[in-house]
């Protein structure tokens, strides 16, 4: 795990895990609906920016780079945050990591 894992994860893309997971931008943050399991999650603006970049086709690495620029932050730290966030979504079966083609 560790560095290797992060390396492979960072070049992945992310997709919603099935057609019954829905995402909607709200006035305060973004809501993820896991309609099959009847759960609703609200993510704040930062989580919403990560998800938006990922769902528009950026790899985790690209996403980290863009956000590091936007937030004027250290890229390695941002990458680690992005991976952690995606892992949390994946653990709840909201997204799947797919290898970048």
């Amino acid at each position: 795990m560790g560095a290797d894992y992060q390396l492979s994860a960072a070049s992945s893309k992310v997709a919603l895990s099935n057609r019954h997971v829905k995402v909607r931008e709200e006035k305060r943050g973004t809501v993820i609906f896991d309609t099959l399991n009847e759960k609703v999650y609200t993510i704040n603006e930062t989580g919403a920016s990560i998800l938006k970049l990922l769902l528009s086709g950026n790899t985790l690495d690209d996403t980290a780079r863009i956000l590091a620029q936007d937030y004027n932050s250290d890229e390695a730290a941002v990458r680690s945050d992005v991976i952690q966030f995606v892992d949390e979504l994946a653990a709840r079966s909201l997204v799947d990591k797919v290898p970048a083609t």
């Binding site: 006035k27 609906f33 609703v40 609200t42 704040n44 989580g47 250290d74 730290a77 941002v78």
Partner: protein, 358 residues
């Protein structure tokens, strides 16, 4: 420096748009403020009031000759469906009456499902054959929700009436099997009555064996025809205790295989809670009127006159209407007021201001 990710999400584990709770979480959940939302989370579309059956407990008072005389026409249905998609409603259900006998059912369901709405369809399943099951599979629904309220023909037939006799339990069970074989997620809905509550365990066993994945139930609602037949339908409290105990036991037995979800509260309890914490959902009636919640008679919009976005704004205001609050405060569990839920009352609301999406 890393991202400002602290508290990046808040988890809401409960069922927030339908009336139900899982056996693990037996609480009603609070909704976010409706003002923070761009539209409903859930729209229940009662597409026709015509039904092949005439059930004794029907909350919508549906039946073979019960079609509203002003149900939405094809082009109006298309417009409503388009607006549901445009407003970004993430999920909905098509209900009735029996949705499968509506001539536009497959067209509407296909359109909604293909355009991002996670869709549930509620059916008595009496009209499903192999070919219908295949067509339904192509809709990619979230689930087909089938009503099964008895483990024996005598119990099922006592509740599920036709103009000439009783509906056949075997047909429903066949339909569940065919749907599951065609890859459709099947959920089962069970309404307990004085004579069916003790069969709930057998029904769960039967539908689980046929491939159902979710089982919903709760107290019978004292609305519609159920209210008229209340004296001989309503289970006793002692029966309910046994009923809920069986559900808990079955939930353990089927853990990881069938989700067993029940709502332990009465309609009155829900109404009082919802008045303070309105759900982000409403019901579209066959004639395009918008009903706030199944158990109250109040209408807050008319989709022949209002867009769905306007209906949403009116819905939010409607919860503060004095008639709604008075109804919710006065209503009691054994109140015949609940029987009047299908004697619709149009609320007089001020013209709402439409807020733009952020």
């Amino acid at each position: 420096m890393s991202l400002p990710l602290d508290h990046w999400w808040i988890r809401f584990p409960l069922l927030r748009w339908r009336r139900g709770v899982s056996v693990e979480t037996e609480e009603l959940s609070e909704e976010p403020s409706l003002d923070d939302l761009t539209g409903p989370y859930y729209v229940a579309w009662w597409i026709t009031n015509r039904c092949n059956l005439l059930c004794v407990h029907c909350i919508n008072d549906s039946g073979p000759f019960h079609q509203f005389d002003n149900e939405l026409a094809g082009d109006e249905i298309e417009r409503v469906a388009r607006q549901i998609v445009e407003l970004g409603v993430p999920q909905g259900s098509i209900t009735g009456g029996e949705p499968l006998i509506h001539k536009d059912f497959f067209k509407v369901a296909g359109y909604l499902s293909d355009n991002g709405v996670s869709l549930n369809v509620e059916t008595d399943a009496q009209l499903i054959n192999r070919e219908t099951a295949r067509r339904i599979a192509r809709l990619n629904l979230r689930a087909m929700q089938v009503s099964v309220d008895g483990a024996t023909q005598s119990t099922y037939g006592l509740m599920r009436r036709t103009t000439t006799g009783s509906a056949e339990l075997s047909r429903v069970l066949d339909a569940i099997r065919m749907l599951a074989e065609e890859g459709v997620r099947v959920s089962v809905n069970f309404v307990p009555t004085r004579f069916s509550a003790n069969e709930v365990g057998q029904v769960i066993d039967a539908v689980a064996a046929l491939g159902a994945k979710t089982f919903y139930t709760g107290r019978i609602m004292r609305v519609g025809r159920a209210a008229m037949n209340w004296k001989w339908l309503a289970p006793t409290e002692a029966q309910y205790q046994g009923f809920f105990a069986t559900l808990n036991q079955k939930a353990k037995e089927y853990s990881g295989r069938v989700r067993i979800i029940y709502y332990p509260y009465t309609v009155t309890h829900e109404l009082k809670f919802r008045t303070e914490n309105p759900a982000a959902s409403f019901v579209i009636l066959p004639n395009g009127k918008v009903k706030m919640i199944a158990s109250m008679p109040f209408l807050c919009a008319d989709l022949r006159r209002h867009s769905l976005a306007e209906a949403w704004e009116r819905y939010k205001i409607a919860w503060k209407h004095p008639m709604v609050r008075e109804f919710s405060e006065k209503v009691k569990d054994d109140d015949p007021m609940l029987a009047s839920n299908n004697s619709f009352v149009e609320l007089d609301l001020e013209q709402p201001v439409i807020q733009s999406k952020v």
